[in-house]
């Protein structure tokens, strides 16, 4: 029961989201900025949900760190787009990610206790894998502004760390 729910959540993220990201061929800088910022907000929202539901100290520490890091990266992104005079532009990829993760988070919100913790950790692992692949394969290569590209590269390095951390958390909760 739990396994199938978990599998469902993970499958939703793994299958649906990357398809959405790769659907837009070569996004523009304003679109890339929007996608990256949106991806950060989604993870902050998931972390806030975790802080509301979870009583596990490791899960809560992870969630607090997600909020801290993604808030900092997003603040840097906002400062950069302001400096560059770029207005982030909503697009199909952003919309698709929001829709799919909203569904995943709605399912998460119905869980409690260890069931929630495991699902949140698995979700975070899958989500960071998805975002990191998108950054590596699509967003970074498509970015034309050097500063935006550099920020995305820094972001990727941080989020790869999050992915490893999420992987540790998944194994710890087994």
């Amino acid at each position: 029961m739990l396994k199938s729910r978990l599998a469902g959540l993970v499958a939703l993220l793994l299958v649906a989201a990357p398809a959405a990201v790769s659907a837009a061929d070569k996004p523009t800088d304003p679109q890339i900025a929007h996608i990256a910022y949106t991806a950060g907000l989604i993870d902050i929202k998931a972390a806030q949900l975790a802080l509301k539901i979870s009583k596990n100290a490791d899960v809560r520490a992870f969630a607090e760190n997600m909020i801290a890091d993604h808030t900092t990266v997003n603040d840097q992104a906002l400062a950069l787009v302001k400096k560059l005079g770029v207005t982030p532009e909503d697009n199909d990829t952003s919309k698709a990610i929001v829709k799919q993760t909203d569904e995943a988070q709605a399912k998460l919100a119905t869980l409690t206790g260890a069931e929630f913790d495991k699902a949140y950790a698995a979700n975070e692992l899958a989500y960071h894998q998805m975002v990191n692949n998108a950054l590596r394969d699509t967003l970074i290569p498509s970015a034309s502004n050097a500063e935006l590209k550099a920020l995305l590269e820094t972001g990727l390095k941080i989020f790869e760390g999050h992915q490893e951390h999420a992987d540790m958390l998944v194994k710890m909760l087994k």
Binding site: A61, N65, A68, D69, T72, Q76, T154, K157, I158, G161, E164, H165, M168
Partner: protein, 106 residues
């Protein structure tokens, strides 16, 4: 003259021997989510100073929990090396893939 010199030298030597060994400050930089240098050696009483150049808060936390130093974003954190010889693996609690090692040699 010679006797005086010897006396003076002996005096200096005696004074030096009674003074405690000066504690050293060992600096570690945190930049782009990495400790540099990643491995350091120190003596008890030395001070380790981590300087964080990232805009993200980090920690230097011993794997065995014997120390837990908070290193704020663009700030510093310090640790007075405990009087306990051994190798201490440490990491950042927020970013556990950041790893360092402190070897305490008496």
């Amino acid at each position: 003259m010679t006797a005086f010199r010897i006396l003076a030298l002996a005096g200096v030597a005696a004074l030096a021997a009674t003074l405690p060994v000066r504690a050293a400050t060992i600096e570690v930089t945190i930049s782009k989510f990495a400790f540099s240098p990643a491995e350091i050696t120190a003596k008890p009483g030395d001070v380790i100073e981590w300087t964080n150049k990232d805009a993200f808060a980090h920690t230097a936390t011993a794997k065995d929990k014997s120390f837990d130093v908070s290193v704020p974003a663009n700030g510093k954190g310090t640790l007075t090396v405990p009087d306990k010889a051994g190798a201490f693996d440490y990491f950042c609690r927020f970013h556990p893939m950041m790893k360092g090692k402190l070897t305490v040699a008496k």
